[in-house]
């Protein structure tokens, strides 16, 4: 056995999980650090509209990590490096946490302030936005859609649901990612590239998945015949 394969194996076994944890936490830690600097009057990187910057940062991070979670299986298929599958669920879960923070920041820093601290007023504002503004409707559905997936992200829930049902449930992540891209696309002004780039990457991953599935079905049909 070559030492390189050995190293990869050991890396997958001992390092992949802790490393991925810290990498996924890094954007959140950075944001927390910048807010600390802002609130203590030190130099920070949040610009002249820190709340807007926070919304954009959390939204971008959530969407990118969500797309990353969808790229893990194709990555395994292409490289045949199976240990990467050990972190797929936590990548998805990280996307959920950032999406939830994104929603909470919107509720706390925008809606609650606009309602002058009145909590029922904040929820009234949220309801109003969800009903009236298409990009918020889409974003809200995306976060809500992630909740059952996050709640069933434990080993015990895979056992309870059975692997087949669990996998089918978690396919919902594809339409959720589509919702998230449209949420982004409907939010920006003018013709901007960002939503198209994210949508393009997501599209490639979706096509890969469909082709992969079709091939599997074909192979199964062939062997059955």
């Amino acid at each position: 056995m070559s030492t390189r394969a050995d190293l990869l194996k050991r890396f997958g076994r001992d390092w992949l999980k802790p490393l991925s944890f810290w990498l996924l936490a890094l954007p959140g830690l950075w944001l927390g650090w910048q807010w600390w600097a802002l609130l203590t009057g030190a130099e920070h990187a949040l610009g002249f509209n820190p709340i807007e910057t926070t919304h954009r940062f959390l939204g971008d991070t959530a969407l990118r990590i969500l797309i990353l979670s969808l790229a893990i299986t194709p990555f395994r298929d292409l490289t045949r490096w199976t240990p990467v599958m050990k972190i797929r669920r936590r990548v998805g879960l990280a996307a959920f946490w950032y999406a939830l923070l994104h929603l909470l920041a919107y509720m706390g820093l925008d809606l609650l302030v606009a309602a002058q601290g009145n909590v029922p007023g904040m929820f009234a504002g949220l309801w109003n936005d969800v009903v009236e503004r298409i990009y918020i409707t889409l974003g809200m559905f995306a976060v809500i859609g992630l909740v059952p997936l996050a709640l069933t992200s434990f080993n015990s829930s895979i056992r309870a649901l059975g692997a087949h049902l669990w996998q089918r449930l978690h396919l919902a992540v594809y339409p959720i990612a589509v919702l998230a891209v449209f949420h982004y696309g409907f939010m920006v002004k003018g013709h901007q590239l960002g939503p198209w780039v994210h949508g393009g990457v997501l599209g490639i991953l979706l096509v890969y998945r469909i082709v992969h599935r079709l091939r599997k079905v074909q192979a199964r049909n062939r062997s059955a015949a």
């Binding site: 820190p50 302030v113 606009a114 409907f186 003018g190 013709h191 901007q192």
Partner: protein, 321 residues
């Protein structure tokens, strides 16, 4: 970086731009005027103008009664948080990249329904010895606002000099376009060049202003140097930057954001808290540089109802937004 005690912008105008600086500048200008005519005539600066156009430093300006009771927005925010998509989509992009734009010499091409269509050198159009300072609130369509001390001249005085003919009813402005200098134009975020327009009575309204400076100094490039429109009762995108062309028309002229998304951005674009943007509320606004959670209720016509409401009498301001 933006939280600081003893804010410099809270000092009086005199302290921000010391009188000696004004006087000094004037003397330099006069001396240059006296000495420089022949020298300048030979440098092929695009126009045979005898006058010079200041490209940096202090501008002398008469104080006016146009004031806003709220604190001025910090200079750093006014010049560091900009929408000038020709230089990129990030609010910091204009400050980062606008330095590439050539603003001197600057000519403005005047065309359309006027008795005198021609090209003007900026300094022949704007009398830099008769500038005034006006503090206006700027309300962006993105639901934030700033309070900015502009330096410039009333638009009405320029319109008068350009002599639109009797059948002219609108005026269109066009932003300078040089794709090599404006890296944001590589992407077709909007259909470049940026265009904006006003009804002629709006252009002649006492509030309409052409700014060549802010905070007592020559306009920074990211803010639309060397000359930009300021129409404070309308959303910020109407206040077109770096004006290179002025056209008088009889029909309502094209305006960039209206062309891009007609249901979201109308020709008038008057600030109106009662008409939500299809994608967000316009009822309140974030005060940039005013503290983390600083917000205020948005006012009809951005608080300039007394000066402008009569121009829209009988109009449905929700329909004709």
């Amino acid at each position: 970086m933006i939280r600081r005690k003893n804010e410099i912008w809270q000092l009086s105008n005199e302290l921000v731009t010391p009188k000696p600086a004004f006087l000094n500048r004037r003397q330099i200008m006069k001396a240059a005027g006296a000495l420089g005519v022949t020298a300048l005539a030979g440098c092929g600066q695009g126009s045979a103008s005898a006058r010079q156009m200041p490209t940096e430093g202090a501008l002398a300006a008469q104080e006016t009664n146009w004031q806003v009771s709220d604190d001025l927005t910090p200079y750093e925010a006014v010049t560091g948080y900009n929408n000038f998509y020709e230089f990129g989509l990030d609010k910091g992009d204009p400050a980062r990249y606008a330095s590439a734009m050539t603003t001197s010499p600057w000519n403005i091409e005047v065309s359309g329904l006027t008795d005198e269509p021609r090209e003007y050198a900026l300094q022949d159009l704007v009398d830099f010895d008769a500038l005034e300072e006006r503090v206006y609130r700027l309300r962006c369509v993105e639901a934030w606002s700033m309070v900015i001390p502009w330096v410039g001249v009333p638009l009405a005085s320029i319109i008068e000099r350009l002599r639109p003919s009797n059948d002219a009813r609108y005026v269109q402005f066009e932003t300078y376009l040089n794709r090599n200098e404006m890296r944001g134009t590589r992407l077709r975020v909007l259909d470049w060049p940026y265009v904006e327009g006003l009804r002629l009575d709006e252009a002649r309204n006492e509030l309409a202003f052409l700014a060549v400076g802010l905070y007592g100094e020559v306009l920074p490039k990211q803010n639309g140097a060397p000359i930009r429109l300021v129409v404070p009762w309308k959303y910020g995108y109407k206040s077109i930057k770096s004006i290179a062309k002025i056209r008088f028309t009889s029909e309502e002229p094209a305006t960039s954001w209206n062309q891009s998304a007609p249901n979201e951005y109308g020709f008038y674009s008057n600030v109106n808290p009662n008409r939500a943007h299809p994608r967000w509320s316009q009822s309140s606004e974030r005060i940039i540089g005013g503290g983390l959670l600083a917000r205020r209720e948005t006012e009809m016509f951005n608080g300039y109802e007394d000066q402008v409401a009569s121009m829209y009498a009988g109009m449905d301001l929700i329909e004709q937004h």
